[in-house]
Symmetry: C2
Subunit: 75 residues, 2 copies
């Protein structure tokens, strides 16, 4: 049925790594108990209130946003 | 209250432009009437059945997936 097909081209903005950084930052901002976060490609450093949120909660928030996140070993 | 804050680091996979390409491809696959699509950073070329879907539908699907998409002028 290919002879019946039309073709179109889309211009799409935001398909950059900055898009992902923005998504992760936005997801972290939805969480209570986050003091500050620094997101780069592949990592996030997060300051949080341990009486309100856990590292596992933080990782799950990022995972829910569509990225595989694991808590890095403590240094 | 900064003195009460803990810190954690996350390792995050998939924060690459390939993530966005995958998202756009996945979104286009949800749409009936798409014959094939070729997605690159910033653009998508789509072959579609005009009796079932319009370029505006296709662009809206990509926009709904979180990317600003506009139909490029026909060539």
């Amino acid at each position: 049925m290919d002879e019946l097909m039309d073709r179109t081209s889309l211009q799409i903005d935001g398909m950059s790594c900055g898009h992902c950084v923005g998504n992760v930052e936005k997801a972290l901002k939805t969480l209570d108990g986050i003091d500050s976060s620094s997101v780069t490609i592949g990592a996030a450093d997060v300051s949080y209130d341990a009486s309100r949120v856990t590292p596992a909660d933080i990782a799950r928030t990022v995972t829910d946003a569509g990225y595989a996140a694991t808590v890095a070993p403590t240094r």
